[in-house]
Symmetry: C2
Subunit: 344 residues, 2 copies
Amino acid sequence: MEADESKRDRTPTLADVARQAKVSTATVSRCLNSPDQVVEKTRTKVLEAVRKLGYAPNFNARALAAKRTNTIGAIIPTMENAIFARGLQAFQEELGRNGTTLLVASSSYQSGLEEEQIRTLVSRGADALLLIGYHRDPEIYEFLRRQGVPVVIAWVFDPKAKFPTVGFDNFSAMKALANKVIRLGHRRIGVITGATQDNDRSTERLRGIRSAMTDAGIPEETLSIAETTYGIAEGGIALEHLMSQPSRPSVVMCGNDVLAVGAIAKAKELGIDIPRDLSVTGFDDLEISKISSPSLTTVHVPHRRMGKEAARMLINMVSKKEGQDKILIETSLEMRESLAEYSE
Amino acid sequence: MEADESKRDRTPTLADVARQAKVSTATVSRCLNSPDQVVEKTRTKVLEAVRKLGYAPNFNARALAAKRTNTIGAIIPTMENAIFARGLQAFQEELGRNGTTLLVASSSYQSGLEEEQIRTLVSRGADALLLIGYHRDPEIYEFLRRQGVPVVIAWVFDPKAKFPTVGFDNFSAMKALANKVIRLGHRRIGVITGATQDNDRSTERLRGIRSAMTDAGIPEETLSIAETTYGIAEGGIALEHLMSQPSRPSVVMCGNDVLAVGAIAKAKELGIDIPRDLSVTGFDDLEISKISSPSLTTVHVPHRRMGKEAARMLINMVSKKEGQDKILIETSLEMRESLAEYSE
DNA sequence: TTGTACGCGTTATCAA
DNA sequence: TTGATAACGCGTACAA
């Protein structure tokens, strides 16, 4: 029983299994990849040898020979907070159902890093890529095209975009919320946004607010903006900044829920009552927005559905099946306690 | 300029670069891997060809030939909440400083899935692995040993463990908190814990509470336990369950902060005032525990330091350098508003 | 149904 | 310092 192991102390290869089962390596390979091409009897013999030797195929060799990895890569801006977690989870689940594994990388919101990650994932043989947002150096898109790697863009939606997309309309979603805010009587609006450079989601959301103000005849100059990196603490600092300005806003609209709960916490600390003294809104409808106190008015984004659809689209593209290449995910307003009517 | 591309429309290889630069593939390879072994003049010539062709090395082929990937894998139980995010971020940063890339997989707290992920990462050529907790089928440890893949275990600490470890003592940390709780006069203790099966962290934490009770002469039977999966909503449901029992606890100790903030939110909903009617404690000291209202008393875990030390240890092991193989990370009590003295 | 033999894109050894 | 050339482990025509 132990005798065979004495040969060497390295990890077994296809050839080892073939020797053990007294067949050719080709047969072993077929047993593993297309079992129905090999007759029952040899198959069991081979599988027995596989089990006995504890053989596991070498992924790299396989990828090299087959030019396919059954792997899809995703690059998200951050793993530090929950913004992308839910959508990515659903994305992964759907891939799993298809026997595809997910490789995740995070770019820390830095486009330079993102390009590096893209090249890394491609050189690792990812069959396709999920990317967040359109904004990207044209050169990298050209690189992907030349490499023949299918890409789906998520978390944004532009019907005219050249790339397959599964996402929502950041502009309209935020504009709808801003319209609501204005209808409630607010005129002095403050904004806490994530960095807008290289980030079309935050840029579009901000544009949505501006557009709603213009429509309502509120001069754009009255908008006070604090730009910061995403984070709870950062949201708090930004709020403090906004509230220390001469003309205090009556509402602070945040680029996402993480910033918003940070703002709410800081407001409490400063003795500002929400929503009596100040209204606050978020974006995303993460779980924390429900348990925040007061609970957070926000834009609900069906992240799980977005992740699932994106996975399906990519799977289709890899197997060159036809299908939609643009899916719009509808968002909705989630009215909770943190936004109230403005009354002087 | 364009002429060379007409040859083929596939991604350029070493050989293409070699042809273009009129050198051998070996030289090109050396230019990329050990540039000082090749003379300045040829090097610039080669790099020029690389740039012109947009050459990117094929990772799989490289791994196959070099038997090394400069990649370390990590398998964490979940990406859905922040429990592991902070530590993993620091882990990745430290790896990056060493030119090592991180491959993450999540097991959804299922040991079967985790084994699969381990095999996947190994077959992908991960040079080493970071795993959470000791509890694991001996067979998988044997597999790892035979494959010669170094492993570091984190988030736990047992001085007698056979494996290199960077972590904290879940038992003692939770016991310290329980001692504090008891010293404040609490006798009827409720617990909301994550699943204890296959999870040594939650098991140890629970054992810590039991031990503190025993030390204080509180009968173990008075402990009421709700076991659930980690999640904000789940924490709420568990709290409701505990509070609907005949003998209501005066304090609910939660297995982590996520469960705790869920419990707090639900308590509010039920009109239970915290900490007047009920005290609540957490574990981890995530960012939400500070902004929770009332703020959450919890155990502070220096996640970032743990991640960083784990990375260093693994890097050392891969390069076969000597070094510590057991690092204890100290935790501390973080007293905040949600835990108060018990007074009938 | 099974086996032979070549190719995948690198790295590494050994000569030159 | 550079160039041939043999691995690396697997998939897959093609032949048997």
